[in-house]
Symmetry: C2
Amino acid sequence: MTTKDALVIFTPSGKRGRFALGTPVLQAARQLGVDLDSVCGGRGICSKCQIQPGFGDFAKFGIHVDDEALSEWNAVEERYKSKRGMIDGRRLGCQAKVMGDVVIDVPPESQVHKQVIRKSATQRDIVMDPATRVYFIEVAEPDMHEPTGDFERVKQALALQWQVDGVEADLSILSRLQPVLRKGEWKITLALHRGNHDAAHRILDIWPGYHEGPILGLAIDLGSTTIAAHLCDLRDGAVLASAGVMNPQIRFGEDLMSRVSYAMMNPGGDREMTEAVRVALNGLVQTIATEANSDPNAIYELVFVCNPVMHHLLLGVDPVELGQAPFALALSGSLSLPARDLDLSAVNRAAQVYVLPCIAGHVGADAAAVALSEEPDKSEDMVLIVDVGTNAEILLGNKTRVLACSSPTGPAFEGAQISSGQRAAPGAIERTEIDPATKEPRFRVIGSDLWSDDPGFAEAIKSSGITGICGSGIIEAVAEMRMAGIVDGSGLIGSAEQVGTPRCRAEGRTHSYLLHDGAAEGGPVILVTQTDIRAIQLAKSALYAGARLLMDTMGVENVDRITLAGAFGAHISPKHAMVLGMIPDAALDKVTSAGNAAGTGARIALCNRAARDAIEATVQQIHKVETAIEPRFQEHFVNANAIPHATDAFPHLEGVASLPNVSFNTAGAGSDGRRRRRG
Amino acid sequence: MTTKDALVIFTPSGKRGRFALGTPVLQAARQLGVDLDSVCGGRGICSKCQIQPGFGDFAKFGIHVDDEALSEWNAVEERYKSKRGMIDGRRLGCQAKVMGDVVIDVPPESQVHKQVIRKSATQRDIVMDPATRVYFIEVAEPDMHEPTGDFERVKQALALQWQVDGVEADLSILSRLQPVLRKGEWKITLALHRGNHDAAHRILDIWPGYHEGPILGLAIDLGSTTIAAHLCDLRDGAVLASAGVMNPQIRFGEDLMSRVSYAMMNPGGDREMTEAVRVALNGLVQTIATEANSDPNAIYELVFVCNPVMHHLLLGVDPVELGQAPFALALSGSLSLPARDLDLSAVNRAAQVYVLPCIAGHVGADAAAVALSEEPDKSEDMVLIVDVGTNAEILLGNKTRVLACSSPTGPAFEGAQISSGQRAAPGAIERTEIDPATKEPRFRVIGSDLWSDDPGFAEAIKSSGITGICGSGIIEAVAEMRMAGIVDGSGLIGSAEQVGTPRCRAEGRTHSYLLHDGAAEGGPVILVTQTDIRAIQLAKSALYAGARLLMDTMGVENVDRITLAGAFGAHISPKHAMVLGMIPDAALDKVTSAGNAAGTGARIALCNRAARDAIEATVQQIHKVETAIEPRFQEHFVNANAIPHATDAFPHLEGVASLPNVSFNTAGAGSDGRRRRRG
């Protein structure tokens, strides 16, 4: 017996077992439950099962592997290597057979549940376990004497060759099945989808023979102002492209409540907005596919995160109930549905959509996605997570308890409602510094790493020019204006005389600060106006009030750390955010950016089915705080109008930023900043 | 204790139990598992739970029921009775409370699983257990502090009030849910569908408050020549209307193989035929709904039975593989899908379709439906079931073994390919007698019970006139012509001289027999031509050969009984069928008609979910015989051309019919009858 089998040890898993000589490595891996990929089922076609055998002495395993431990390099491997290339020393697991004791390493890219390593240390890795996977099968040919349908024999093959049971297909697949089977000579590749609530697998597509093409997915963060998407390869989780477009619903109202009002006041208004966003999504699909040089028809899955109003408008549900107490959602659970039910014709016609669950009438699937990405429910310390957008999603908590609310910040942080505002794109001012002595600004523009006073700046930005100021740019500009004494604590811009620079210009009864005059080159004049400052004050007060309300409810005076997130809020400088009073006080090194956490959450749900179950369970545990009916929110909001609202509330700013004690409170500076967006 | 509870006995089930005084009868019934209906869940709205209490001595149960055994007649019952009427002595089970020992009879119409009593003793009763049922619920109102979606609270209510778990809804329902809930003041009625393979219930429709309207279903027998449908009330199984239309695919080919050829020869031809039949189905829905004075929008379910070619063309699958060995079906299993996937826009947009499984490439879901209706697999004696249509489905067997085949009879039996043929409709000659002495015919026409020589006949048929001859009419006419010596054993019509009647007219080199001359009244001249006889000979030879092939395979020389079925084959006279030699010999009283057995099978599957499971299991057990590749089929077919093919093969005709020994075999009578339709 001992001469007829051999010990096989897999690394990195350490799984081991004895196998009869002649057993293919892939088969040994499967029997041991080793995570070794294969699409073709061991037919030497897909090359997904590449392994790295080790030879020589393995002291820690107590074995010696000699050169004949695997069968010889064979013709299938030679053909694959000469055609496609393969790292020297690697073998195909389905071809190499065990001939003696051996140690086999499974390289990361050969694992089914590959990890997508994230660039930033603060972000989570994603283990690949997508709802859509491809399978290669050989189907039995029809037999007149044992008549079964071709589809029934496909199901048999999936059950026998892949242990996949419960397979469904709609007519568009069934009508193509017979020619595809015959063209592939009874060998086909299938894309199968099984959502986290599905018992059955659904065939999304079929191809004759072995199909190499990509299976793509889109993770979409559908915001009130901006729609951001990541195009991912569902085989390895790679992000092929990221793109954003403005939400065209803006023409029906800039913030959520004006859109709800539009739906209330205009019969069919909700339908108009639904159609607008669906058209924009189809456009975004085209844009992002073009950018990635991919076929939009290869997109088989989409995951959406969005706030409740966007959620309802996407689904074609009138959001009117979200505009009045008790803010009842039509549905709060997650939703799985075909993309064609959302008129998403740009993607594959069989594509499936998953929409994350909402937390409450004002706390949506975007907040759920942030929770999925940032995991406050697993944090040891008290973390405040602020997802900056037209509606800010705010989470506060630790592994004991998590609170959530949303706050109607308005679109100012995304560059809308700002006189020179624009979305974050080449040409937009994204960073600003103002010399406190000279009051002269310098800035950086998206598309170049040079500051505006660096040599070569003009040349570097020639292709885009200087076109406007984006969300993170306006936040820095206002904070810098405050630190330079151009703006006082109440938010008023001083006059040229008061401040001592001709950059402060009178505009009617208020003043503006000239950031950049491009008129000589035919470019725009970029000003920060008093109205801009007021818009930022409104936005930051709402954000602060929401965070503060959660801290009150939690019963804490301080937070251990703050995470700033948001599709375009990721570039906000912590110092400037605190100078403005956007966020509560914290040590600046404890304020970090998480990038587009909602988009990341969407991407996690796109790549990993189990994450969908996880977030559905988590949202049940999150306690929702309703800002709209909470008197303390109003109180915090009104009190937070100043910049910052009280210097003694921000001890951590001391030594980091100096805030001049100036006051420009002259007649004519309006107090229009006290309007509230939501009733 | 004994004074605080009472014995409740339900009839006819005999279920009994003791219940606390004050327990509503409906609640007692539910706890005992008594089959007592309720839609409103005991709220006194639906009146489905009517019961008949018995009073006095019940010797067989050993109890006495006194007049106070139930609580007093109450206001809810009084209001219902005065508004809607209720049989004296009946009570509402949800209102009447147990106050003493009592015997409660549940009348048939109050049972959930009502039996639909069939008119004919040979046919099966149907126990109602449809896939679609209505539920009335009260939904919790939204609570800002416990935010869940309205849909989630609907699911909660269904789980709590009806023990219905796993509920799904698509966007068309979700987008209507909020206004419906508010209009109904948080009380709504839902139509829920759960197919026999579904884990979850799907919401098909919602109404504010309690909804009384009908839930309708359509059972459709989609034949090559005729599409027949029954419109049923899914609450009680009542057939509200039956209607048929011609299958418009006839213009692409009269029989199955010509349609497959059309698809082969014309790119997109299958698509044309698919669209044609779907358009016709929508028209049929309108026709049948109008006939029943029903709203087609109340049709929530459709069940289809059809042969494999019709099956594929209905589903939009190119039938080309069915035209060549090995006759591979694209799919053989049953299929559940939304009606909109079949472009059936005339029914409710949420309507669901169930298609019965096919047995083999030439033996379809229609044969499965016949097996479901006629149950050969449960028969003690050897039964031959012949479903007469353009393609005949033939089943032979008993509880030990069942064989099935199909035979390409062509459309002659349905009145097509016959010079004066028409479908069975008012004005069509359906029965014929010919006096053997005078060779004079008399006949009956659909729409009147009078024979053409009865007084008042002309008046009785005035509205329709005499328009043609239907399938059963032509069979009788040819058999009568044979018995009257107008046609000889080879199928030739004699000349006027040979036969001795001027009704035999020369038509080119052959002769025709004049059945009716309506020219004087501006009506048609109805002839039976030599070509008509040849068409009938082809059809009956194919039918006989199929039956004979199954008998050979089964190893039997005789059958115990024969069932004739078919949408329009139900009116065939057994004697005439045997004179023709359509069916094998049998005692005439053992030859019965089953009506449209395929349609009945469809109706059973429509009304009873368990029947779907049953037939799916049964088709796995049926052994299929492929006529197209069986040399004995050809042999039987060729040998069966004569009328009947051999008098000694039909001993049971002796004493029932006399077959004159005539021969008109003159030059010119073509032998074109030997063409075969299928290769």
